[in-house]
């Protein structure tokens, strides 16, 4: 089937491109840096109390360290997901390869679906790689401290799976934003700019709104970053309560609203792409 062939080619293209590997490498370095930073804070900072040191060390041990690992993945990964999706989509415009492929009678929706599925799959793989390396960092730290312990709770497998999938889902939401921005602006640079602006501007705008109180504060609950935090409350490291100290959506409701947002965004993106002339500005 043509759609599967397109997905396969998209995955091959991602595998053979340097940029995704560089991004993943930088991300893994930042994860390693996180473990090192927390470790040095626990071990060397004179202002850290013994109780805090114990808590920090415990938080880095296997399997407790997954919370910190996933939280860091969420914080850094969202912007990387925007960059990744923007690059992958926008460069098809700047290189002219979009015209090349579509002039062979490939349906436009197939092309977009193929790219989206490849992006989602890549993020999933990136999450697996992150878990692999994160586990390595945790175990390495435990070995150095001589505190290695492989005792796991009964629900460990389920918990780590669902927690990772929730973070992957949030990364996919942000990748969709980068993807849509690139398709609509027809450029990786513009898409990247629009996606990144959204990520940063949204936080600033809705934080300002929440300060205004009343209706505006209520509105801030519907911001993507707030909803993402609400979803990750199920992972026990969401920060919704930190914003205004007021109510937040349940993780399920937040996920449903995010899904609705992305569905609307994708419909707009697909319609725009299907109706647009792919010449001149392309």
């Amino acid at each position: 089937m043509m759609i599967f062939r397109i997905i396969r080619v998209e995955l091959i293209k991602i595998r053979k491109r340097q940029a995704p590997w560089i991004m993943l490498g930088l991300f893994l370095i930042s994860i390693a840096f996180y473990f090192l930073a927390v470790s040095s804070l626990a071990d060397a900072n004179p202002e850290t109390t013994q109780a805090d040191s114990m808590r920090l060390r415990e938080g880095m041990r296997f399997p407790n360290g997954y919370d910190g690992l996933l939280q860091t993945t969420f914080r850094i990964g969202t912007i990387l997901a925007v960059i990744f999706a923007s690059l992958l989509t926008g460069s098809e415009y700047s290189w002219g390869t979009l015209r090349q492929v579509l002039s062979r009678g490939i349906p436009r929706t197939y092309f977009l679906v193929g790219k989206l599925v490849a992006i989602f799959f890549s993020l999933f793989i990136a999450m697996l790689i992150t878990l692999f390396f994160g586990t390595g960092f945790m175990l390495a730290g435990d070995m150095i401290r001589g505190t290695i312990d492989f005792t796991l709770s009964d629900d460990f497998g389920w918990t780590i799976t669902t927690d990772s999938l929730r973070v992957t889902m949030i990364l996919i939401v942000y990748a969709c934003i980068g993807f849509a921005a690139s398709v609509i602006t027809r450029s990786s640079a513009a898409g990247l700019g629009a996606g990144a602006l959204f990520v940063f501007a949204e936080v600033l705008i809705f934080s300002a709104l929440s300060i205004l109180g009343g209706f505006w504060a209520e509105l801030s609950h519907y911001a993507v970053y707030r909803l993402a935090d609400d979803v990750l409350m199920a992972n026990k490291f969401g920060q919704s309560s930190d914003f205004a100290g007021d109510w937040s959506f349940s993780p399920d409701w937040a996920a449903a609203i995010l899904f609705l947002y992305i569905a609307i965004l994708m419909v707009i993106t697909f319609i725009t792409f299907s109706r647009r002339d792919l010449k001149g500005a392309a």
Binding site: V9, S103, R104
Partner: protein, 313 residues
Amino acid sequence: MASTATQVKPIVSIRGLTKRFGKVTAVDQLDLDVYPEEVFGLLGPNGAGKSSLIGMILGLVRPNSGSITMFEIDALKNSRRALLDVGAIVEDPAFYPYLSGRDNLLALARIVGAKKAQCDDLLELVGLKQKGSQKYSTYSTGMRQRLGLASVLLNDPKVVILDEPTRGLDPAGANEFRDIVRDIAKTQGRSVLISSHILAEVEQTCDRVAIINKGKTLKQGPLEELLTHRGQSEFLVGDTAKAVSIAESIGFVAGTTGNESEIRVNVDVKDAASVNAALVMRGIDVMGIQPAKSDLESYFLELTASAEDQTES
């Protein structure tokens, strides 16, 4: 060549095609037919509407009105089926710079469902077999065009569409590319639709030509027909100056051609006999008579100028 055989059905048929970008009409009520196994040239200056027309044929640009039929399939309603047997380079060849030439070809082959082995054959055909593993970003313009041509031939298309294919090539490269294009049509039995603003290129490569300007077809037909039978005859004479004055004295406009041994008389071919008689009767040696052939450039300029005049009036 099937061009003159009117009973042969066109493989691509365009009727009343119109495309407007805002207030600008890029293609205006354009009609066009491309027949099997011919090289068809779309000739027009920059901005004439050639690329927009090709974009519409390939489903990249949505026309405002008109129809495109390919292989008797309505290409506007079912572009996927209609384009199954079409290979094209739109504007410049476009590939992924981080992949090798071969990997680029393989990627496209996978999408269109072509066989992997065909990629190597095509790389050999366009002379890139040795450089196939090199990254596309390191390719010269000529190599990029060749790879573009190889990609076009994936899946054995019946129609090949090339938009300004020799743009950026040096004269030797352009000449070689034209030979390959003619080979594609003549020995491999494909139809080639080629757009160009280079008159010599069209003259050397194409069997039939459509001259378009400001989105309209000014003239369409076999190249030979366009360049001959245009109301002029050429007389090969001994004394050109005297021949000119005789021809003019009997009411025909005459002038010498470049080599000073021929005169060109503005008469229909059927009137050539009376001019010949007048010349012979007055002692001019007429060594030969033939329908005058103008070059495409002068014809093109003549056509576009008269179109400009009509627009202004």
